[in-house]
């Protein structure tokens, strides 16, 4: 069964190739079957492998499959090989499973698009690249997948490229993540030079043997990897591309935010956690970045008008939680939240996509409302997703994963009360903005007429994901309720358990849970009151000068775009404008002009006269003689 592992990335890749090469010649109906089918079979293989992994785990709880040797030069070998352990298995399941549902949904969502086959080709490539990223045994394959994901995000965000704004958004995403990629590439070079191997497991082993805790090279490597991770995962300070990435079709947003792309950074940190363990200061920075991001993005989500931008900021915020978990050494908790987040965020995006289509491509929540009755399936699934996002206790999967992160942030040796408080405050804000979104979209009076209702192809993935969002959290139940640590236990073969001391904290856990639940419920109530029951409250707050300023600031995502424009883009453009007749070109143009000049001078010697030719022959002979005699 494990031998089939290569099929997992190969199937979507084959789907991409078929659609890319023959997409125009195939009948239009075939595109979704190939596109969704390839990912579906890939998911099936993943699930079969997962079943096998549970029932009969491979030796050493990991399995590696060498497909072929890529290069072999003077003792340096680079193999095309896949590595499966608990971490990559979970990632595979998320990417293929959620990815498959998104593909199915797209089959209806994109049906009227003229580039139907092209869309599925890109989506398949996206999934294939992400699978390559999580399954690659060495850094080269990981980087291949990493770059592939970057490329596909560019192609898909700018999928409707005829609108220049979409092209700009795609460019912004690509360039911003590229900054992170550069850090990451340097980090990989550093690791390779220092440790002399590209194999990730071997690399981690050598790092733990050769580097002391807190040594400079470990910190440098960890920081560089973190640079790559914040770029791909949309964390501070490189989060600016994510809200704009909403320019792509909604299934793309779902894929980027739930199954692929943004989780790559989290995966990368989990994969290289040994390096971060060796660099406590860098790991602390991971936690701080996560905490800061989750707060900033949570507040920014409060002031958005566009439903997809709310979701985008919520993604940034939730990824912040995952970073927080990584930073306090609770890797399994972070991955757990990654899984539940994949469920509910894919659900929320696809449900919002259904709303947007129903309202004839209206994304402004201020023009929505009262859709509860008109779109019941969408409403209920969206509500379930929102509960999970806001982590309502017991009945939502988000509760279990977020709770585990908050508890780890508090109790872990690497955690602190401040980190916990940031997460706690974030949960409160999440409650407000989530239900603000629900209320503005589905309650109140109807402002825009419902145009079309989603068909079953779009509804089915919503329902499946709603079930997952409700019950997915039961994989891990905190000991305060009922001790059932299935997920963290399963991950222990790949990721170390969070360093949580067991004595003297039994009561604290339950107490903290209660406090967090109260915070979430407070947030919910505030949203209900301020946006549902008495909307004048919200209006009054915004009407005050301070409130208005605050709203504008939050609406602009704390003005990061403005800041980067002022300190980076404008100076860059000024320099470019100043040097628009590139002075370096003077050299090359000079050489060209010189060559041309010498050419015309030399051409004068080609007179065609034999007497002149004979004369040069004699002069040449004289010169040759002179050289020999005089030198």
């Amino acid at each position: 069964m494990y031998e089939l592992l290569w099929l997992v990335p190969a199937l979507p890749c084959a789907g991409f190739l078929i659609l890319a090469l023959f997409g125009d010649r195939l009948p239009r109906r075939a595109a979704p079957f190939i596109g969704a089918g390839s990912v579906g079979f890939s998911a099936l293989v993943s699930f079969l492998i997962a079943y096998r992994f549970f029932t009969a785990p491979p030796e050493g709880e990991h399995f590696s499959q060498v497909l072929w040797t890529w290069m072999n030069v003077e003792g340096f070998t680079c193999q095309f090989s896949l590595y499966l352990d608990a971490l990559s298995l979970v990632m595979c399941l998320v990417v293929t499973g959620v990815g498959f549902l998104i593909h199915v949904y797209s089959a209806e969502y994109m049906i009227d698009d003229e580039s139907y086959a092209k869309f599925f080709a890109y989506m398949n490539l996206f999934v294939a690249a992400m699978l390559m990223l999580v399954l690659g045994e060495n850094m080269v394959l990981l980087y291949l997948g990493w770059e592939g994901v970057g490329l596909c995000s560019f192609l898909l965000i700018g999928f409707w490229y005829k609108n220049p704004a979409n092209g700009r958004a795609a460019m912004k995403a690509f360039l911003t993540t590229r900054i992170g990629d550069t850090f990451m590439a340097i980090g990989l070079f550093l690791l390779f030079v220092q440790l002399g191997t590209l194999d990730i497991q071997e690399m981690m082993q050598r790092a733990s043997q050769q580097w002391a805790v807190g040594s400079g090279v470990a910190v440098a490597a960890a920081l560089l990897i973190l640079g790559g991770a914040v770029g791909k995962s949309g964390q501070l300070p490189l989060q600016v591309w994510l809200p704009d990435a909403m320019a792509g079709p909604t299934p793309v947003s779902a894929l980027i935010h739930a199954a692929t792309m943004v989780t790559a950074g989290v995966y990368l940190i989990a994969r290289t956690h040994v390096i971060f363990e060796l660099a406590p200061s860098a790991q602390f920075l991971v936690a701080v970045v996560g905490a800061a991001t989750l707060l900033l993005a949570g507040f920014a989500a409060l002031a958005q008008r566009d439903i997809k931008r709310v979701l985008a900021y919520s993604t940034i915020s939730q990824i912040g939680y995952m970073f927080l978990a990584m930073g306090v050494g609770a890797y399994a908790a972070g991955i757990f939240h990654l899984v539940t987040h994949a469920f509910f965020k894919a659900l929320l995006f696809m449900a919002s996509g259904a709303v947007i289509v129903a309202l004839h491509h209206e994304q402004d929540m201020f023009k929505m409302g009262g859709l509860r009755k008109k779109l019941p399936v969408v409403f209920w699934t969206f509500l379930i997703g929102s509960m999970s996002l806001a982590s309502l206790p017991i009945i939502s999967s988000g509760f279990y994963s977020k709770d585990l992160i908050l508890w780890s942030a508090f109790a872990s040796e690497k955690g602190s009360k401040a980190l916990w408080f940031a997460g706690f405050a974030g949960a409160f804000v999440t409650g407000i903005y989530t239900f603000r979104m629900v209320i503005m979209t589905f309650f109140g009076e109807e402002k825009t007429h419902v145009h079309v209702k989603p068909g079953w192809v779009m509804c089915l993935p919503l329902v499946i994901l709603a079930i997952c969002s409700t019950f997915g959290g039961l994989m891990e139940i905190p000991s305060s309720i009922y001790h059932f640590p299935l997920f963290t236990h399963f991950m222990e073969s790949a990721l170390p358990a969070a360093p949580i001391p067991h004595e003297g904290l039994e009561h604290a856990e339950l107490m903290l849970q209660v406090i967090a639940v109260i915070a979430v419920l407070c947030g919910l109530s505030i949203a209900v009151v301020a946006f549902g029951v008495k909307p004048q409250i919200a209006r009054a707050v915004v009407a005050t000068p301070f409130g208005a300023k605050m709203r504008d600031l939050l609406f602009a995502g704390w003005g990061f775009d403005w800041l980067y424009d002022k300190i980076l883009i404008q100076p860059f453009l000024r320099t470019a404008r100043f040097n628009k007749d590139d002075f370096v070109d003077l050299i090359w143009n000079g050489i060209a002009a010189l060559s041309r000049g010498v050419h015309s001078l030399l051409s004068e010697t080609e007179t065609g006269h034999v007497r002149w030719y004979a004369a040069t022959l004699s002069v040449g002979a004289l010169l040759a003689l002179a050289i020999v005699v005089l030198l």
């Binding site: 060559s595 041309r596 015309s600 030399l602 080609e606 034999v610 040449g620 040759a624 020999v628």
Partner: protein
């Protein structure tokens, strides 16, 4: 003269017999096809006899005049194959022409014989014999399309200047003889050792004057001015011959002679050769830059290419010999291919040498255009072509002997050169709505071009066998 001597001479004997045979054949039947086939058979037989002679009578000095070693057999092999290709091209080319065509093959064979003689020469007498056999045949070949004004003009220019340069050469030989008292290369080298320090002046002056003759044949600066005129005026297959075989023989001789007398002992001669090499590279590439005639471009390009190969010559012996041989082989394939395309494109009235003839060739005759592009890229030294391997080895040889000036000149000038090669490629890519369609090449021409393109790529991708062959030459000459 023993039987083994005759075996060693077999390739030359076959060529001579073939040339004589054609003369007799023409007396009986004047048939272009038969004559061409006869000459090609003679050349083919000569090629086949090379390995036989090499294994039966290895490294044999036949009389003091000729040294028939692996080195000379390698160059003969390359030159014979080239002449074979040229004979095939000439057959297709002259099929389009009126008039007597059969004599051309006699001239082709005697010219090849002269070049082969040069490559095997170990004595001034055989050197001069080979040189003159080659040159006199060439005068007539250049003028072979005698109703074309350009051809006759080119032939006369070539005659006057080649004769003048030969005079310098003979004078140089006389000076060397006066000092060394012998005309055998090996003995000159021995006598040189006996000379007192500082007493080499006459010997050096003799060498310098010989350089004039050699430089003229190889079209090196400042003895290069005839090249474009002759290339342009001569019929395309003859141009191919001037560019390849006639230079190959002379280069083989140059390398043998100066390696034997150990040119590295003489800084002044080294300086002279370096100056010639550097000037040739720059003059060749710069002169070709904005040239509008493709044949003239190839003429200038050959000046530059011979400049490149001079770096191999300047390197120390054990690298110089294989690098030079490799470069010459790669250069032959490439030049024959490029000239072959011109020959194929030519019509009865004129040779296809203007840019207009090639505008939009990619749409009119994609296969020919692809072959031409490959040849031009090889001349520019782009990887995966034979030209790259040749250039790489020349650079490696130069680097090993620290000929940094030459290497720098090669790098700079060949990047300038890229411009005019790509200009031709660009012209072939332009749209060609108003251009006439190209007549289909005959199957001979198609076979020749395909074979050359295949050889170009084979050497470029898998140079192992050729490199190995070139490296075995060192043992025989040193």
């Amino acid at each position: 003269m023993t039987l083994l001597d005759l075996v060693a001479l077999l390739p030359l004997i076959i060529l001579t017999a073939a040339a004589t045979g054609i003369v007799l054949l023409m007396a009986v039947c004047r048939c272009h096809r038969t004559t061409a086939l006869f000459s090609m058979a003679g050349l083919g037989l000569a090629v086949i006899s090379l390995p036989f002679a090499n294994s039966m009578a290895p490294n044999r000095a036949v009389t003091p005049l000729l040294m028939l070693d692996t080195y000379s057999f390698f160059y003969m092999g390359v030159m014979f194959v080239s002449s074979f290709v040229i004979a095939a091209l000439a057959y297709a080319y002259f099929e389009k022409q009126d008039g007597r065509r059969e004599e051309f093959y006699v001239l082709l064979l005697t010219a090849t014989l002269g070049a082969a003689f040069l490559s095997a020469s170990s004595h001034f007498v055989s050197l001069f014999m080979g040189l003159e056999t080659l040159s006199i045949s060439l005068y007539a070949m250049v003028a072979y399309t005698r109703d074309r004004r350009d051809s006759v003009e080119a032939a006369f220019k070539y005659l006057v200047l080649a004769a003048a340069s030969a005079a310098f050469m003979v004078f140089g030989m006389a000076l060397v003889y006066a000092e060394a008292g012998t005309m055998e290369f090996a003995k000159i080298a021995a006598a040189r050792g006996a000379l007192e320090q500082g007493n080499h002046l006459v010997l050096l002056a003799g060498c310098a004057m010989m350089v004039v003759g050699i430089g003229f044949k190889l079209a090196l600066v400042p003895f290069h001015l005839w090249t474009p005129d002759v290339y342009e005026g001569a019929p395309a297959p003859v141009t191919a011959f001037v560019a390849t075989v006639s230079k190959g023989g002379m280069f083989a001789l140059l390398l043998r002679y100066f390696v034997l007398i150990d040119v590295h002992q003489y800084p002044s001669l080294m300086f002279l050769f370096t100056a010639i090499a550097v000037l040739s590279m720059f003059f060749g590439n710069l002169l070709a830059l904005l040239q509008d005639n493709i044949k003239r471009i190839l003429a200038y390009s050959s000046i530059a290419n011979l400049g490149y190969v001079m770096i191999a010559f300047l390197a120390s012996g054990h690298m110089a010999v294989p690098a030079g041989a490799l470069y010459i082989a790669a250069y032959f394939i490439t030049t024959l291919g490029a000239m072959g395309v011109i020959s194929v494109m030519s019509t009865k009235e004129r040779d296809a040498d203007s840019f207009a003839d090639y505008r939009g060739l990619f749409w009119r005759a994609p296969w020919i255009a692809a072959v031409f592009t490959a040849m031009l890229l090889s001349l520019a030294g782009i990887p995966l072509t034979a030209g790259f391997i040749g250039k790489f080895y020349v650079l490696a040889a130069g680097e090993e002997s620290s000929r940094w000036i030459g290497i720098a000149a090669l790098v700079v000038s060949s990047s300038i050169g890229l411009y005019y090669y790509l200009r031709i490629v660009l012209t072939m890519c332009e749209s060609a709505e108003d251009e006439a369609p190209v007549s289909r090449p005959s199957w001979t021409e198609a076979t020749v071009l395909t074979g050359l393109a295949a050889a170009l790529l084979f050497v470029g991708v898998y140079p192992g066998p050729l490199i190995h062959a070139a490296e075995t030459l060192v043992a025989s000459i040193l």
